[in-house]
Symmetry: C2
Subunit: 400 residues, 2 copies
């Protein structure tokens, strides 16, 4: 009798507050699968750990320990931003097969989905019975084929909480406050700032997204109009805003690129300082401040959205169930992903559906037009209705 | 029979997560004082509201409403950064007396304490029976004569939580992460980052305070040593770090000053970007990121320290009790403050003591030497023991 196939799991890309829920959801499902799964191995730092043979035995930790891991933000196995070449994928496949892997779960965004696709294609070409499942994770919510992605609700909750506090600060001291939010290509996270609003004069009063061209004179005119109306102004702006030609506004101030060729936008305050300087210069406003939320958006502990955490857990378990079902059915080897699909209707309800990984890999999804206000400086009520169940309730705040 | 004296209350300076607890503590105490207090008036935007006659009737809101205000971050009455001139103080006194005020409570830091002193001095000179009480508030914890100040525990909790999440992020993706923390002259808030640590290799690995001269070569050498030991490095640094001659490191990049003549340090990412650039240049480290926590430290909702909130409430009530007692005793008119005094011994216990406002006004308190590690790049275990009860428990985190 041949040995049961081992399961290898890894985390990739930027951490989130709930990516460890996904890890633990998958690990517990694999541990609960009886003889269908042999070892459960966690690769440290994504595919780098696969290539180096750096694994953790995930059948060993107690459930209580794993539950504490689940509640911990950031990628507990370690992550990487290493985009594999086709040759890397050959080596990854070899490394997985040499470990007796029959299942490979890769938790990440669209780059990770593409890596999963490449590895599965090579496995299929070799006739190796390796079930590869990409498990969605991205705070940017920019995976195609998904209503939303695990990690988004919690990061969005951070952003909305931050804006709610910052709007109260601006009420107290006045002036113009600019908050720079993560999101290179998609405005979902910046848009979440709108959930901070409860009252008609609550901020953010202006929301700028990468999906619409950003014009500095238009920005100044927008701020001026809000100041005239309210005597103060709070702005949420995506780090990924671009001018009419598609050039990143931040590009003038940063030249560092990651291994995916992406410009470094987070971990620098340059864009916020630029925008604040322009408002001071163009409008003569004295008190203008800018904060760049940075990495707190993805790893601040203790404030995760409960819905997000539960869904993150569920996609991990679903990925294992799907891989086991494919194996049991002897389905052709091909990489899958687990998609989050929202049911139509007023009540919030989602299902988790397996699909070919090509449906989510590579290209990113952007904020749909119906979520962006016609003026291009705000979101629509439809966006707020869509996002509210994902973020969950915010701490209540009261004003005189 | 003459009318009961009215009570005017105002908030000043930078907001905090619990300054509204102090407001509500005072308002409920004043409302509970029966005929000893006439109207309870909240001045909008500190002394600016007093001067403009912009008041809220604080006997009107329901207790339930006030309790919601208490849990809301930032100054609900509005704040100001207007440092009154001696002439302003004459006008403030006139405005207060014209409103029938017998009690003036001013919630704020050391600048506010000094304003309270000036107003009381003028009242005494005029023989006006105005009881002025300064009620402490500052996230910087830099008020003399206090073990700590309301607002500090919650802001410190934000900083420690942020560092805990950021350290997990750095574990996952490596490199050097620099977090810039508020605190112009005192390192208490930056020092609170150390509370993020649970395990020997947890960050922050280096902590730089305004109380010790900052040297760029020394900083680079410190980071290099941590990288050699752990392969990664998380740094907490105060916005107020200075070189050996006392010049702010941030001074090269910001020239804006507030009305107190203080250089603008928050609301800009320049210092973090400078430090990150130096590490890249001097050490050749590729992945160096900097975040500047900014205003989130003082107004992020929902994460206040319970101890801090309770104490903030108590100092407000105590201020009213003290003012009433002074009035009842016919004590000479002079401004008081309420100090937080910690009892000696292992169990955490504080008392609230009235004292002359001169004991806290103007000069700031700095982090004591016994809280700073001899190398000048960390805090001591004594600091951690001192700060832990103020911040309260952090969200637990687990690592493999």
């Amino acid at each position: 009798m041949k040995n049961a196939a081992n399961l290898v799991i890894a985390q990739s890309g930027g951490p989130s507050m709930v990516i460890n829920e996904t890890l633990v959801g998958a690990v517990l499902a694999a541990r609960g699968a009886g003889k269908a799964v042999g070892k459960v191995l966690g690769a440290r730092h994504g595919i780098d750990g696969v290539l180096k043979g750096d694994f953790i035995d995930l059948k060993r930790p107690s459930e209580a320990f794993l539950e504490r891991i689940a509640k911990t933000p950031s990628s507990a196995l370690g992550s990487c931003r290493h985009k594999p070449t086709p040759e890397d994928c050959d080596r990854i496949l070899e490394a997985l097969l040499s470990r007796g892997a029959g299942f490979f779960l890769y938790i990440g965004g669209n780059d990770s989905a593409d890596a999963a696709r490449l590895v599965a294609e090579r496995a299929a070409a070799k006739g190796a019975p390796l079930r590869v499942v990409h498990v969605p994770k991205t705070i940017d919510c920019d995976l195609r084929g998904n209503d939303h992605t695990p990690g988004y609700g919690s990061a969005g909750r951070f952003v909305a909480c931050a804006l709610r506090g910052d709007d109260l600060d601006n009420r107290a001291l006045g002036g113009v406050k600019i908050d720079v939010v993560m999101g290179r290509d998609a405005g979902f996270l910046t848009a979440a700032s709108a959930l901070a609003r409860e009252r008609p004069d609550d901020g953010p009063h202006l929301v700028y997204l990468p999906e619409r061209p950003f014009s500095m004179p238009r920005f100044a005119a927008d701020v001026k109009a809000v100041l005239a109306r309210l005597g103060r102004c709070v702005v949420a702006v995506s780090e990924g805003i671009r001018d009419a030609r598609g050039t990143l506004i931040a590009a003038k101030f940063s030249t560092e690129r990651d291994s995916h060729g992406n410009l470094q936008l987070s971990g620098t305050g340059a864009l916020g300082d630029l925008l604040a300087g322009e408002i001071k210069r163009r409008l003569g406003v004295k008190r203008v401040r800018a904060d760049t939320f940075g990495y707190l958006q993805r790893t601040f502990p203790g404030i995760a959205s409960e819905t997000d955490a539960a869904e993150a857990r569920a996609v991990g378990a679903e990925a294992v169930r799907h891989a086991l079902a494919e194996a049991a059915a002897g389905a052709p080897v091909a990489a899958s992903t687990i998609r989050i699909v929202r049911a139509k209707g007023r009540a919030y309800r989602v299902s988790f559906e397996a699909a070919p990984v090509q449906t989510v890999a590579k290209d990113t999804r952007r904020l749909p037009d119906e979520f962006i206000a016609p003026a291009g400086n705000d979101v629509t009520p439809a966006f707020v209705a869509w996002a509210r169940p994902l973020l969950g309730p915010l701490p209540p705040c009261e004003v005189f």
